[in-house]
């Protein structure tokens, strides 16, 4: 049975790759798009089914391919941890592909669209391979494939300068992270018998400082990919330059491979990382969460805002991981399960609603031709279905009942509350609760801004006034994702059951052993009840209003303008002004630069890490290097002089250092 499962998984991967090839080979064919869609969706369905089977049965399906390449055999395994990621990848990937094919179809005339499809399918396949690889070499190969694939598709619109810049920053950042991973695996594998993850796990007890160096390198390497502050600076340019469905996959899945890597390293090291690491993750999570959403609040480009918001959600996941690790090390398995389960469930949830929001932004872009919030508005009337889908995504992401965001944040909160009640130093984690609350409240402000400014009110420009609803082929994937958000919110038991066992294994325990986990599973019925009660109350209220208004006069008039007769759409609050009070409370930390003159006022958000730290540091290094410029004279004689000086110095060294 196990063999069948892993076989089905690989059949799925093969179908995806076949789709990639088909997109290229059949590019002039009339039915190329349909064939590509069919193959990739079929592949996602197949691999996803295998993953779900593993989740339901809790088994581990592995296969080993003997390889004569250096690094030993290649092992792939679908264990429950990988299955969570594979299932999410396949579901979100399928929706993004279904959206992307008609989305890009309009650009056939001036761009090689087949190339985007091919790279995208390879990207999805590599994502599934990254989480199932169980040896260092196939892991790194799949990792690089994923990185290069992402780069190739980020620079898809390469005639735009900001797309090229985004690709450059991305490739530098991802390879710096990969360098960290190389260092980590090299120092770890040196103590292991071979390069498989099982051997690494066996060698874990021999690591110095309880694996401290390994964990630090893991945070560096995987942190770059995940997007923790301050390693996040590549995220906003990259996710806003890529096409919408690609951004959905990037934010939804690709950055989660960083989370997967951290969880896998923790599992291989035995589940109880040193204390400093847990506190560090908690701190990094809090900082990433607060700063991510603050910077998101400052943006006025929809996709950049969503990208910064992904940083915030990665921060919440980081809080969950830190909590889980602290729980495990302090000896509270219940808290460990809650923390890891919250992190895992939030990974899944975020994949769902962030990709939904990105697809929505893609629909908006397709309808209006712009991503700038300041010139949109009133799209709820022009794009009613897109607005419903986006609304569900926005309500989900701020973490309120009755949708799925609430469930994962609830798990993390319960874990933090429990840790506050413990008797040891762990109770300092109580300070994470107001931090998480601040993050949630700022997220509410952020998405009130996006939804309100983009979809509600009056249209601020002609492109918004003349927007037309996108075709149904683009709406269906959005509603599938929205339906998943609603389902996981109203019936959270499914999600919680899926992650609780995995969380227990990460914390070094056995599945289903902790009473706290069982209680949470039981209480998920209450959460479900709250969600349903809410919907029932809304329906009841609607009924009451209907009855009250029966027979009364209901009129439609202009909005109250305080007696002013000619209000114009430009008088509405803009996105920047909506966020201004909140951003000014945080001062310079919000990264907003004001330029004002006697007749003009302009605010621009800058990235504190990229524009204020990394780039100035780079300029400083260049200036210091320019001081060495005179060495490069351009005159042949000087270069030859350098050669001769080198020869003479070497001879002198040889002469002086020789034993005679």
């Amino acid at each position: 049975m196990i063999g069948i499962v892993i076989g089905i998984f690989f059949i799925g991967v093969a179908l995806m790759l076949a789709g990639a090839v088909a997109a290229g080979v059949l590019r002039r064919h009339a039915a190329a798009d349909r064939i590509f869609n069919l193959l990739v969706l079929g592949g996602c369905l197949t691999s996803g089914a295998a993953a779900v089977a593993v989740l339901i049965t809790g088994t581990r399906a592995a296969v080993t391919v003997p390889s004569s390449a250096p690094g030993g055999n290649w092992t792939f395994a679908l264990d429950p941890l990988a299955a969570v990621f594979v299932a999410t990848t396949c579901f979100v990937g399928a929706c993004c592909v279904a959206f992307g094919t008609p989305y890009l179809a309009e650009e056939r005339a001036h761009r090689p669209v087949w190339y985007a499809h091919t790279v995208f399918a390879v990207l999805i396949a590599s994502l599934t391979l990254v989480v199932t690889a169980q040896a260092v070499v196939p892991f790194l190969i799949a990792w690089e494939l994923m990185a290069i694939g992402s780069y190739l598709i980020i620079v898809f619109e390469d005639e735009k300068a900001d797309a090229r810049r985004a690709g450059l920053i991305y490739i530098v950042a991802t390879h710096t992270g990969t360098l960290g991973l190389f260092a980590m695996f090299a120092s770890w594998g040196a103590r292991a018998s071979d390069w498989s993850f099982a051997a690494l796990a066996a060698a874990a007890p021999t690591l110095p400082h309880h694996g401290g160096v390994i964990l630090a390198l893991a945070v560096l390497g995987f942190g770059f990919k995940a997007g923790f502050v301050p390693l996040h600076f590549w995220l906003p340019p990259a996710h806003s330059a890529a096409p919408a469905h690609v951004s959905g996959l990037l934010s939804g899945i690709v950055i989660k491979t960083g989370i997967y890597g951290l969880l896998r390293v923790v599992t291989l090291l035995g589940g109880s990382p040193p204390l400093w690491w847990g506190w560090a993750m908690l701190g990094i999570g809090v900082v990433s969460g607060v700063l991510g959403v603050l910077w998101a609040l400052a943006q006025h480009d929809i996709k950049r805002l969503l990208a910064y918001h992904s940083v915030e959600n990665i921060g919440i996941i980081g809080i969950g991981i830190g909590l889980g690790s602290l729980g495990a090390t302090y000896g509270h398995p219940g808290i460990a399960v809650l923390g890891y389960a919250g992190a895992l469930l939030h990974t899944v949830n975020h994949a769902l609603f962030k990709s939904l929001l990105f697809l929505g932004s893609g629909a908006v872009y397709r309808a209006t031709g712009t991503r700038d919030m300041e010139v949109l508005g009133g799209l709820a009337k022009r794009l009613p279905y897109t607005w419903v889908a986006f609304f569900i995504g926005a309500t989900a992401i701020i973490g309120v009942p009755p949708l799925n965001g609430f469930v994962s944040e609830w798990l993390v909160y319960v874990g933090l509350f429990r840790s506050a009640q413990s008797r040891d130093t762990l109770r300092l984690a109580a300070l994470g609760v107001p931090a998480l609350a601040l993050i949630g409240a700022l997220a509410l402000a952020c998405f009130a801004k996006v939804s309100g400014v983009v979809f509600l009110g009056h249209a601020r420009s002609a492109s918004a006034r003349d927007a037309r609803e996108v075709p149904r082929t683009l709406l269906v994937p959005m509603f599938v994702l929205a339906g998943a958000c609603v389902l996981l919110g109203v019936a959270p038991g499914f999600g919680i059951l899926a992650v609780v066992d995995v969380a227990a294994t990460i914390g070094g325990g056995t599945p289903n052993a902790t009473p706290e986990a069982l209680q949470v599973v039981r209480d998920s019925a209450w959460v479900s009840g709250v969600a349903l009660a809410l919907l029932a109350l809304l329906a009841a209220g609607w009924l009451v209003r209907r009855i009250a208004l029966r027979g009364r006069v209901v009129r439609a008039v202009e909005t109250w303008g305080c007696g002013y007769p000619l209000p114009s759409p430009r008088m509405q609050y803009t996105a920047s002004s909506f966020a201004a009070p909140l951003l000014s409370t945080f001062g310079r930390l919000s990264g907003v630069v004001e330029t004002s003159s006697a007749s003009a006022f302009h605010t621009e958000p800058v990235d504190l890490v990229l524009d204020r730290s990394a780039i100035p540091a780079w300029h400083w290094v260049r200036r210091a290097a320019m001081r060495l410029r005179p060495i490069q004279q351009g005159r042949l004689h000087i270069y030859l002089l350098y050669v001769m000086v080198a020869v003479v110095v070497l001879l002198a060294y040889l002469a002086l250092a020789s034993p005679r």
Binding site: L428, G452, Y573, P581, L582
Partner: protein
């Protein structure tokens, strides 16, 4: 048990509009006027429910959803609070989070409804509302986690119920601090002086009032009622921190609850007539002050 919880919820639902009425009357009396009768809010609600509605042409279903959502979320949130001093109608691990986030959902949908009108006044109101609410949420959670530490319970039922009274002698100083903190947060959350003045008529100075400028008829009734209900819920929370009601019977605790609503109305009225509204830039400091009190209480408990 369920019956007493249901009864208290019913009492709260019925008696909630008492608070704005008492507050207005207190304010009037303290400033030398007679003021409207105590039951004026009830009369207002009745009048509004019998009116027709006017909807702006700019609005969509978000505007029509907002009043329903505010009432539904506040009602559901109040079901989580142990209104009879013993047990909330809805009680599960971590329902404190659900409490806070339900109120957040209500606020989110109200904000969307306001932005739906496309008016710059509503935009201004929502902008201020979300910025102040972002500072209130952490304060509220500080109080909740502090109570969680004090009572070693994870549900509002435990945090505000019998377990709190069993530990009162030990944790009294912190709980008093938390009660004051909650009062400050209540003023911020329910848009009373010194954060917002409910009786101002200048749109430029409003926060909560201006968000609901375009609602009329039953919608406005829902919103006014939901606001009163939210104040009543906070009053009940503060009551639970100060007065032990577990020993009283069902009728006794309901009577004390109504008495607390009246008392909080009087307190709000006194504050409103003795203070002016704070300038906008000072409001974050005020809220941060309330949060700091709560943090102080939390730190005392963590020792």
């Amino acid at each position: 048990m369920i019956l007493s919880a249901l009864g208290s919820l019913g009492a709260l639902v019925v008696a909630a509009p008492v608070i704005p009425g008492v507050a207005t009357k207190t304010r009037a009396l303290l400033t030398g006027r007679r003021g409207p009768p105590l039951w004026q809010p009830y009369a207002d609600l009745r009048k509004l429910m019998r009116k027709g509605a006017t909807y702006s042409t700019t609005t969509t279903w978000a505007f029509r959803l907002a009043p329903l959502a505010v009432v539904a979320t506040t009602l559901l949130a109040s079901a989580i609070v142990p209104l009879d001093g013993r047990r909330g109608l809805v009680s599960f691990t971590g329902d404190a989070v659900a409490f806070a986030y339900l109120l957040g959902l209500g606020r989110f949908l109200l904000v969307l409804g306001a932005l739906d009108t496309g008016s710059s006044f509503e935009g201004m109101g929502t902008s201020r509302e979300v910025s102040f609410a972002s500072l209130v949420e952490p304060g509220l959670f500080v109080a909740l986690v502090a109570l969680g530490v004090a009572t070693e319970r994870l549900s509002l039922t435990g945090m505000f119920g019998m377990e709190l009274w069993q530990r009162w002698p030990v944790v009294a100083p912190s709980v008093i601090l938390l009660a004051v903190s909650l009062f400050v947060l209540m003023l911020a959350e329910c848009a009373r002086v010194p954060v917002d003045d409910p009786s101002t008529h200048l749109e430029l100075t409003m926060i909560h009032e201006v968000m609901v400028l375009d609602h009329s008829g039953p919608d406005l009734a829902f919103i006014l009622y939901a606001n009163a209900l939210k104040m009543a819920v906070f009053a009940a929370l503060i009551l639970d921190l100060i007065v032990p009601r577990a020993a009283l019977g069902a009728w006794g605790s309901a009577a004390v609850l109504v008495g607390a609503l009246i008392a909080s109305g009087i307190a709000v009225g006194i504050v409103e007539s003795s203070m002016a509204r704070l300038r906008m830039p000072k409001v974050p400091l005020f809220i941060a002050g309330g949060t700091a009190l709560g943090l102080f209480g939390l730190i005392l408990l963590l020792q």
